[in-house]
């Protein structure tokens, strides 16, 4: 108990110090929302790092609205709807001017209502389920392409490889199921065949039954729409059992760690990817700044998180005040503003007006951009 009291005192003291030093500068408080605990913590921490980097650069350049510094507060969603509601309410009661972040569509969805009620502009940088669109009360802006865009990129890719019979495997969670359904519909609409449409459970280790049914179905290509941890095992087992066709994975599996799990089997695997730093010509300085600051390479959502913070800052400056409605109007008026991941402008539903997906190919244990 004594230990706890001591810890609590330290925490309170740290709070007090940051609070008092912040007062003098009259900062603009921006909330960051992402999972920093739980299974998706790596991605969330990566997003926080990138947002902080953007905020530091803006502050070093003289801040916003003629000299006001950005101050960041964080909200950990743990990729869980219930916890994200807590985090969002906490950010809302800390009177943030805007919120940047949003990873895990399922956990982001219930926060939309909270920010909508509190009238807080929200730039969603990673979450991209199409389910977020009808739930948006009008204050949220998605700068990542949605699952529908990825499905379209996937269908174009497979069609370009002269393939007719496609097997799709998902993990039954909102994200991978959404992508699998959209791809299946687009593929069938394009006049091709779905030879197998399978769901596996998260954490399964042995895919032999699945591999057999894929092989028996005569599939020429396999599309794995879920995450890399299980995807790596599936790729390995597919190749071990002699599957010769094309294997492609969705953007949840384009992590470099896929090569650690799948080993040599991942050579020649294709991945659809959000614009990650390595494949963005504009991100060279960003990568080196990020590596200096955090001693690690930026992850897949770092450029988008960086852009989200920059976009929010741009909108506050354009609005000329911290008034929520003015900022929302400024965000909606974005017309090709570009930082790392390409130009940003929005559809009337506040989604990104273009598809930002790229196709990658695994070669020598890393991803390179695929050029057809």
């Amino acid at each position: 108990m004594k230990k706890f009291v001591k810890l609590a005192t330290v925490a309170a003291a740290v709070n007090l110090i940051t609070a008092t030093s912040a007062w003098a500068a009259e900062p603009i408080v921006i909330g960051m929302q992402a999972p920093t605990t739980g299974s998706e913590a790596t991605y969330g921490q990566d997003m926080f790092n990138a947002i902080s980097l953007a905020a530091e650069e803006i502050n070093a350049d003289g801040g916003l609205l003629g000299g006001r510094q950005i101050e960041l507060v964080s909200g950990d969603t743990a990729c869980d709807p219930q916890q994200s509601v807590n985090a969002a309410s906490r950010l809302a009661s800390q009177e943030v001017v805007g919120v940047v972040g949003g990873y895990c569509s399922g956990a982001t969805q219930p926060t939309l209502k909270i920010y909508g009620d509190a009238d807080i502009p929200f730039v969603i940088v990673a979450a991209n389920s199409t389910q977020l669109i009808p739930a948006n009360p009008g204050n949220a802006f998605m700068i990542n392409s949605t699952g529908a865009d990825q499905a379209k990129t996937a269908v174009d890719f497979f069609a370009g490889q002269d393939i007719d019979k496609l097997a799709i495997v998902n993990q039954g969670d909102a994200y991978s199921q959404d992508l699998a359904d959209l791809t299946r519909d687009d593929w069938e609409k394009a006049g091709h065949t779905i030879s197998a449409f399978e769901v596996v459970n998260k954490g399964e280790q042995d895919f032999s039954a699945l591999v057999n049914s894929i092989r028996n179905s005569g599939a020429e290509a396999v599309f794995w729409t879920a995450y890399y941890a299980d995807g790596g095992l599936l790729i390995r087992q597919l190749r071990q059992r002699g599957f010769q066709g094309i294997i492609a994975v969705g953007d949840g599996s384009n992590s470099p760690q896929l090569f650690d799990i799948a080993g040599r089997a991942a050579e020649g695997v294709y991945a659809f990817s959000n614009p990650t730093a390595d494949f963005l010509p504009a991100a060279k300085t960003f990568i080196s700044n990020y590596e200096t600051a955090y001693d690690t390479a930026p992850g897949p959502y770092a450029p988008l998180a960086y852009d989200g913070m920059q976009l929010m800052a741009w909108a506050i400056n354009k609005a000329g005040s911290t008034d929520a409605d003015a900022i929302i109007q400024a965000l909606a008026s974005a017309d090709g503003e570009a930082w790392l991941a390409g130009p940003i402008s929005f559809t009337p539903q506040h989604t990104l007006a273009r598809s930002n997906f790229v196709v990658l190919e695994g070669q020598d244990g890393k991803w390179i951009r695929y050029q057809p």
């Binding site: 709070n15 709807p81 809302a92 009661s93 389920s129 389910q131």
Partner: protein
């Protein structure tokens, strides 16, 4: 505790240590009544004094009070270890979600159906497990919890992995229950009802039968207690508490997905019950508050918060091995 040496004066033994004396201070009826009034007053005024964030996390804590008191009936009173309690929570939430959103049934009219569905789920899990004890029972209940979650994930009507969204907010006599404070009061009323029900059940004939079955099943049956009916009653009661929590959880969030009803959720509820003190109502309530508010109050620790919280839990169990406020052994 029981093996005190004969040299200890009986009076000293009865008074116990400082913590026990502190808890014993709440045993007398007038003090208890005063405490009830005080807590009720705090419950009523809090949302007007606290920030919206505090209101939201307290709402969450009150939800867990309902769930934990429900699980306490199964685990604490009747001694049936249940590792799949989130299933009842899910049945309540999904039934209300499906009926109101997909069939357009009025929220209040749908509640009896949700409770009936949960009671049915209680019978389904209770029936086949009646002959099982301890570890084996735990395994079956764990399986049951996972079956419910996987069914929700794979059925068309439950919205698959994405779950159900846009569950309509309930109205009461033309008043929309939708703000954070509205839901705070809804859960406060539920928690008070759950508390009263738990208290009455504990003192009832059924409550005594549950404790008897927990202590010695065979002896209880020999004394004329209908083991089957009593155990089933425990499951059904627990299921109804869980479903009530789930019903209002669904309309509060407006969206539910299978991930909210994972094994971890069941463990968290069980953790709160064990931490607080199995079978002891104030202990269970305390446990629910600690489990929900702990990680929230530690948010300033950033990524370390769950680690700090885990260490705190370990310390509590180290110093209070039978829970913070355990049931008095008689």
């Amino acid at each position: 505790m029981a093996d005190s040496t004969p040299s200890t004066p009986p009076d000293e033994e009865r008074r116990g240590n400082a913590v026990q004396r502190f808890y014993a201070a709440f045993e007398s009826p007038p003090r208890r009544r005063a405490l009830h009034l005080l807590l009720l007053a705090i419950l009523v005024v809090t949302p007007w004094l606290a920030s919206q964030y505090m209101t939201v996390i307290l709402t969450n804590a009150l939800l867990y009070v309902v769930l934990c008191l429900g699980l306490n009936v199964v685990v604490g009173y009747a001694g049936l270890l249940d590792l799949g309690y989130a299933a009842f929570f899910a049945v309540g939430a999904y039934t209300i979600g499906i009926l109101t959103q997909q069939f357009g049934i009025n929220f209040w009219a749908a509640i009896p159906f949700a409770l009936a569905a949960a009671a049915l789920a209680g019978v389904i899990i209770g029936g086949p497990t009646l002959r099982l004890r301890s570890d084996y029972l735990a395994i079956v209940t764990l399986g049951f919890g996972e079956i419910v979650r996987f069914s929700a994930r794979n059925l068309e009507i439950t919205g698959g992995a994405s779950g159900l969204s846009h569950i309509p907010e309930p109205t009461l006599l033309g008043w929309y229950i939708d703000s954070a404070i509205d839901f705070y009061y809804v859960f406060a009323v539920l928690a008070v009802l759950a508390y009263i029900a738990s208290q009455r059940l504990f003192d009832s004939r059924l409550g005594r039968a549950w404790r008897y079955v927990r202590h010695d099943e065979d002896a209880a049956e020999a004394m004329g207690i209908n083991r089957v009916a009593v155990k089933l009653a425990a499951y059904i009661t627990g299921a109804i508490f869980g479903a009530l929590g789930g019903i209002f959880f669904a309309v509060n969030l407006g969206a539910i997905s299978p991930e909210s009803f994972s094994f971890q959720q069941s463990v968290l509820i069980l953790l709160a019950v064990v931490l607080g003190g199995m079978g002891k109502i104030p202990g269970v309530i305390l446990g629910a508050f600690i489990v929900v508010l702990g990680p929230e109050l530690l948010r300033d620790f950033g990524t370390l918060r769950l680690l700090v919280f885990a260490v705190l839990l370990l310390l509590i169990m180290l110093f209070r091995p039978s829970g913070i406020w355990p049931e008095k052994r008689s």
